[in-house]
């Protein structure tokens, strides 16, 4: 029965080969983890209070499908102030259940059977399955440590075919922490325009940048009409559990996405929307404080891995470092499994983020400095031990 019940698309999405490692890691006790992709900070107190107040005093019914107009107006102002992006809150902004929903809606709205969608790799894990579920073909575009994991025009161009319809890109990047600066974006923007490729730009980490300012590709001349900007509250305001994100872009696309959203979801949770409004109106100072602290931890992490003699490019965004472990003679899965067993430290194998992530591990610094230091000490001990074992074997 089940064999005929499930469609071929869902059946084609195989469970990740490193699922076993995740299960072991999540069941083991007393683990020091650098393995989580969500902030350790709590949602700012005034934001929580606003949500409670909204439950007590404001509506608990549906909002408009596209989200509270007040919230869309605040998002519109925010995008303009922070990233020089102009969107009409009436018809160019959609409030979604997390940025993830926005990615899914966008793909479902634009992908025709067999369309190719480019995905720079290493990549966050949800884009590829979302493309497949929408009937498309996901085409990974590898990025390299030697280029600071930035997407180059050259590598982009190599993967474009007549069937290429869009690119899903995420900068600042999970898992590498890479960013794309203005000059990088200009270079790929030209290629995308030339080949008439649409951009789904997941900018969920846009507030978490260090020593640079975030540039949205949509702010480049001629790009707004071919870009959907996706953002949300999870990372910038430490609001993962609220499930609140948004998309902003060309009117026609937003209308189509709103259509799907209204049939599938109705609207994002009302209390979360009120919380989001409070975050945008009064919460930006918290973002600054969190960024300053992430930045200090980022430096401790990069320094820690370099002290171990591992190659670790300096990420300028998100809250991950992506050191290279390939010279230790282990695959990333083996490295992480052994590290977990021997030192009880959980980090994520680079292979989880696609073939070009092999040879690397993702370590999050959304942890207290004490945890980070203890984890680094243990990883150092593991790496030292590992080197001794392999040099003995060589002799």
């Amino acid at each position: 029965m089940m064999e005929n019940l499930l469609n071929k698309r869902i059946k084609s999405i195989s469970p990740s080969g490193i699922r076993k490692f995740f299960d072991i890691a999540n069941q083991m006790e007393n683990v020091i983890s650098l393995g989580v992709g969500e902030p350790d900070f709590r949602t700012p107190w005034h934001v929580r209070a606003a949500a409670v107040q909204s439950i007590e005093q404001k509506g608990t019914s549906y909002t408009a499908n596209a989200g509270l107009l007040e919230l869309r107006k605040a998002i519109s102002r925010y995008l303009e102030d922070r990233f020089q992006l102009e969107y009409n809150p009436e018809n160019q902004i959609l409030v979604t259940v997390g940025a993830s929903e926005a990615v899914d809606l966008a793909l479902r709205a634009i992908v025709e059977e067999g369309d190719e969608i480019l995905i720079p790799e290493p990549t966050y894990v949800s884009y590829l399955p979302s493309v497949v579920l929408a009937g498309g073909v996901a085409v990974p575009v590898p990025t390299y440590e030697s280029r600071s994991f930035r997407l180059t025009a050259e590598d982009l161009e190599k993967h474009i075919t007549p069937r290429t319809k869009a690119i899903v890109m995420c900068y600042p990047n999970n898992p590498t922490g890479a960013v794309m600066e203005l000059s990088d974006l200009k270079a790929i923007g030209e290629v995308l325009k030339e080949h008439d490729i649409f951009v789904i730009s997941d900018e969920i980490y846009s507030e978490l940048v260090y020593g640079i300012t975030h540039t949205s590709i949509a702010s480049l001349p001629g790009m707004a009409e071919r870009t959907l900007v996706i953002n949300g509250f999870s990372k910038s305001f430490a609001m993962t559990g609220w499930r609140l994100g948004y998309a902003a872009g060309p009117v026609e696309l937003l209308q189509a996405m709103t259509k799907i959203h209204q049939y599938a979801i109705m609207c994002a949770p009302t209390m979360s929307q009120y919380a989001g409004l409070e975050a945008l109106e009064n919460g930006l100072s918290h973002v600054k404080t969190m960024v300053a602290e992430y930045n200090q931890r980022r430096r401790v992490m990069v320094d820690g891995f370099r002290q171990m003699g591992l190659s670790c490019f300096e990420p300028q965004g998100a809250f991950y470092v992506f050191p290279r472990i390939s010279d230790l003679g282990l695959s990333s899965d083996e490295f992480c499994t052994q590290l977990l067993q021997e030192e009880r430290v959980a980090v994520v194998p680079g292979i989880a983020f696609g073939a070009s992530g092999e040879g690397f591990i993702r370590c999050s610094y959304a942890y207290s400095l004490d945890s980070i230091r203890e984890a680094l000490r243990r990883i150092d001990r593991f790496v030292t031990h590992r080197r001794r074992v392999s040099s003995n074997a060589a002799n």
Partner: protein, 160 residues
């Protein structure tokens, strides 16, 4: 840089100059020189540990005393405040705006100790007009740290 160093140390005074240097991307020597300077200027007065004494067997009481004083010609509140601060049982002295002038935090083994301090030492000082003693019953938060109710990290070990 000065402010950043101080903010880091105020939260965790155990950190070494090398560790602070990494956190702020400045050489260890520069941090050391700055710390030296800060101690010399008495910007850094000491390094202390925040203790939740309730969890220990030590018995003691703490009181906050609101003191009204007559300011003195040429010295204002400074002289009297500094004299009160000299008592070893006094933990802190702050000058306030509003209904009273000085807030004096005093620690003693028993309520009797505090009462004796107020009646024998504080209230009898020249220019002290009145004292209002409030005993501290429970501490919830001090210097930015919660005593209880810290939410545990319930995130799983791995989450992409």
């Amino acid at each position: 840089m000065r402010i950043e160093i101080l903010q880091i140390l105020e939260r965790d005074s155990r950190l070494t100059p090398a560790e602070i240097g990494v956190m702020l991307a400045i050489p260890q020597e520069e941090v050391e020189a700055e710390l030296e300077q800060l101690r010399e200027e008495n910007v850094i007065l000491g390094y202390h540990t925040l203790v939740d004494w309730e969890k220990t067997s030590r018995e003691f009481v703490t009181a906050q005393i609101e003191v009204k004083v007559t300011p003195q010609r040429d010295f204002g509140f400074d002289q009297i405040a500094q004299r009160i601060a000299q008592f070893p049982e006094v933990q802190s002295v702050f000058l306030y705006s509003g209904d009273f002038d000085l807030s004096v935090i005093v620690e003693g083994k028993t309520i009797k100790d505090i009462a004796a301090f107020v009646s024998d030492k504080l209230a009898v000082m020249d220019s002290v007009e009145s004292c209002k003693t409030h005993f501290i019953l429970k501490k919830y938060k001090q210097n930015g740290f919660l005593f209880e109710g810290n939410e545990a990290d319930e995130r799983p070990a791995i989450l992409l």
